[in-house]
């Protein structure tokens, strides 16, 4: 009996001690501004922290606490924060979701706080991704996400293929021809071991939407105050081109169907894919930091269809409506997104800076790392008609990605995919229409 009592009492005392320790560890730091950043690469995190430290050194009475968020969980984290009112003062995210937050009334309209200098220096196409028709601004865009085509220089040279230049970009037909030439059974065992291209098609809605503009499509059409989805011949042509490359030419690696752009990179290093099509410009960082020493690569200008115009999306800094320090938060945004700091952030995240003054800096016109060609794409960036469509984020995950996965896996035809996208999309969008959310 004694032993059991001792065990029970020991557990109880241990519990009490731990409780005391836990209470003691509850550091309720209520500092100045809270900044949630989604930077995740080592150098990008270091840059963000360094800028925050510089701000804190210069503003002892208005300290900023750096909080590192994560891309995968940012939405849950932020929505809970918006609903409960315990919000960060500044947060980093991307334009397509910011639009949704703005429509739901979660964000401070930053338009009264934006300086003339910032307004003028940030590209119009970047502002268009976060500005409502009534002039309200949901966030300050600072990085532009653009798609690039990466290629293996050695493999192209071996086949005598001359890569395109900014003045003479490739069309999709040029890409198909080159991809067919580059698709090979190199060891003669009857199995293709080098594909002309790899395209990360696992969640392909982003690539397809942004590329569709160059085909003259855009999926979303305005119908009065609301949006409907139409898959016309232009959109179908893009889908058919990729399907043909996969199944007719067999010049796109089948692994593309289940992989993301990032997941295709090891195969690109090993020479399994001669070109990586439609990967984000951030992909260059992996190449610079992780490619084998003898690996030679380059960046191609955006592929031309009817035009060379691609949809732009941006990374942004926003201020929640429930933040009580919107003015101070905007002062910090002004600081972290100054021309000099935007350049630092863009260089370390391997993305295009949204400021014109940065784009003229030598770093962003360097051939090394493909900065020159990547940044030149801003000239042809456009804004998709889906910007501002209520329910777009849900549409992407519940309709576009699953249907496109089935299409590229060869389970349905382009025509079936088009019909399903139209039918299922309008079911989703009509729900938002009933809610009365308008951009």
């Amino acid at each position: 009996m004694k032993r059991s009592t001792v065990i029970f009492l020991s557990l109880f005392i241990a519990g009490a001690l731990v409780f005391w320790a836990v209470r003691k560890n509850d550091v309720q730091q209520k500092s100045g501004l809270r900044f949630v950043s989604l930077a995740w690469q080592e150098r990008a995190i270091a840059t963000n922290k360094s800028i925050v430290n510089e701000w804190n050194a210069a503003h002892p009475d208005m300290q900023v606490e750096y909080i590192q968020g994560t891309w995968d969980s940012a939405h849950d984290y932020l929505v809970t924060a918006f609903e409960t009112g315990d919000v960060p003062d500044i947060f980093h995210y991307e334009s397509s979701i910011i639009i949704d937050y703005a429509m739901r009334g979660y964000l401070t309209d930053l338009s009264p706080y934006i300086s003339v200098e910032m307004k003028k220096d940030i590209l119009d196409v970047a502002w268009a991704t976060v500005t409502r028709p009534n002039g309200e601004v949901g966030g300050v865009p600072f990085l532009i996400e653009s798609l690039v085509v990466l290629y293996n220089k050695s493999l192209l040279e071996k086949e005598g293929i001359v890569p395109p230049t900014r003045q003479h970009p490739w069309t999709w037909d040029d890409l198909r021809t080159a991809a067919q030439t580059l698709t090979k059974d190199t060891n003669g065992d009857g199995v293709i071991d080098q594909y002309g291209a790899g395209i990360g098609l696992r969640n392909s809605a982003n690539i397809i939407m942004n590329t569709s503009i160059s085909f003259g499509g855009s999926f979303f059409k305005k119908d009065g105050d609301h949006f409907v989805v139409k898959v016309n011949d232009e959109e179908k042509k893009l889908l058919q081109t990729i399907v043909d490359m996969l199944y007719k030419d067999k010049s796109v690696a089948p692994a593309s169907i289940g992989e993301t752009g990032a997941g295709m990179i090891p195969g690109f290093f090993s020479g399994r894919y001669a070109m990586l099509v439609g990967i984000g410009s951030w992909g260059r960082q992996q190449l610079v930091e992780n490619a084998p020493k003898d690996f030679r690569w380059g960046v191609m200008p955006l592929l031309k269809a009817q035009t060379q115009t691609y949809g732009a999306s941006t990374q942004t800094l926003s201020v929640p409506k429930k933040s009580k320090r919107a003015k101070e938060a905007m002062m910090f945004i002004d600081f972290i997104l100054s021309s000099k700091n935007t350049a630092r952030l863009a260089l370390n995240d391997w993305m295009i800076p949204a400021r014109k003054s940065c784009l003229s800096m030598p770093e962003f016109n360097d051939t090394l790392g493909g900065w020159d060609i990547t940044c030149s794409s801003v000239a042809t960036l456009g804004v998709g008609s889906w910007v501002g469509a209520p329910g777009y984020v849900e549409w992407k995950s519940r309709v576009a990605n699953p249907v496109l996965q089935e299409l590229f896996a060869g389970r349905i035809s382009v025509e079936d995919a088009a019909n399903r996208i139209e039918h299922e999309s309008n079911n989703v969008l009509s729900r938002y229409k009933k809610r009365g959310e308008v951009w």
Binding site: V27, Q41, E42, T70, T84, Q286
Partner: protein, 278 residues
């Protein structure tokens, strides 16, 4: 017949070995990735074992992020919630088994319902309640959430264990003059040790692996738990810092392994073996 038996034994052992390899493979892969240079991780022809060993990822993890701080946070939250859950579950399970009442079925129903309730639905009201009593952004608040979250299932486990202990054992003790408290502490508790071990391990691992509550409730970077810290190695569009993530994951696994080693013998003990004759 003997030959057949030997053959069956070999087949069974072979299957077990295959199963162990299947279970160990992901762990081996993570350990190997944590020791490979980044270029080798991204190699198009991956190997299971590293061709070149580097500890750079470990040093990056140790120097770069608050891995040990977050691990400490997870340890204290996990330990405290486990102790509380077990202390609450034992008497509750005993009362449910030995004192029959109409409430019992309702409690069992509540346990089942609580297990199928999506976290996201309770998150906002829970957050508001915790903020009202000043327990958001607090390890105490998170501990209490974990207690509430794992208590139903631990109670369910404990209910089954207590129910399997024959009432005759207690009756014998009562005949010998033991009080109800003495019965619980001297008769039940020793027999429940394997159950307590299993339940405690379940409660600890539940809180150790929990992500969403920790993400939403803990705002200060210094209070982040291990799972939240690990998620910070992943980026957008399926990217991740694979080497540091693997190294951090290996470090994160160590406390669970240590705990399991210490508690292993509790599981191998039969619950009531030899308690009754005949």
């Amino acid at each position: 017949m003997k030959n057949m038996s030997a053959l069956s034994k070999t087949a069974i052992h072979g299957l077990i070995i295959l199963y162990i390899i299947f279970l160990l493979f992901p762990l081996l892969w993570v350990v190997a990735s944590s020791l490979k240079p980044t270029q080798e991780i991204y190699s198009g022809s991956p190997t299971i074992l590293p061709q070149q060993i580097t500890f750079d990822h470990y040093s990056s993890v140790i120097n770069g992020q608050r891995i040990f701080r977050s691990m400490w946070n997870s340890v204290i939250v996990g330990t405290f919630s486990t102790i509380l859950v077990v202390l609450l579950a034992i008497p509750s399970a005993y009362a449910m088994v030995r004192y029959k009442s109409i409430v019992n079925n309702a409690i069992l129903g509540w346990i089942l319902v609580s297990q199928i309730f999506p976290v996201i639905l309770v998150m906002i009201p829970l957050y508001v309640m915790l903020r009202y009593i000043g327990l958001t952004d607090s390890l105490t608040g998170l501990t209490l959430i974990y207690v509430v979250w794992s208590l139903p299932f631990v109670l369910w486990m404990m209910y089954g264990y207590v129910k399997s202990i024959p009432l005759e054992l207690e009756e014998a003790a009562v005949i010998d003059g033991a009080s109800r408290t003495q019965v619980i502490f001297t008769i039940l508790m020793p027999l429940l040790l394997p159950a307590i071990g299993a339940s405690a391990l379940f409660a600890f691992i539940s809180s150790w692996n929990e992500f969403f509550f920790a993400l939403v409730l803990m705002k200060s970077p210094t209070l982040a738990t291990l799972q939240v810290e690990l998620a910070r190695y992943t980026g957008m569009e399926g990217q991740s810092r694979t080497g540091p993530l693997a190294a951090a994951s290996v470090i994160a696994t160590i406390p669970s392994i240590i705990l399991f080693i210490f508690m292993r013998k509790w599981f191998t003990t039969g619950l009531v073996s030899g308690a009754l004759k005949g």
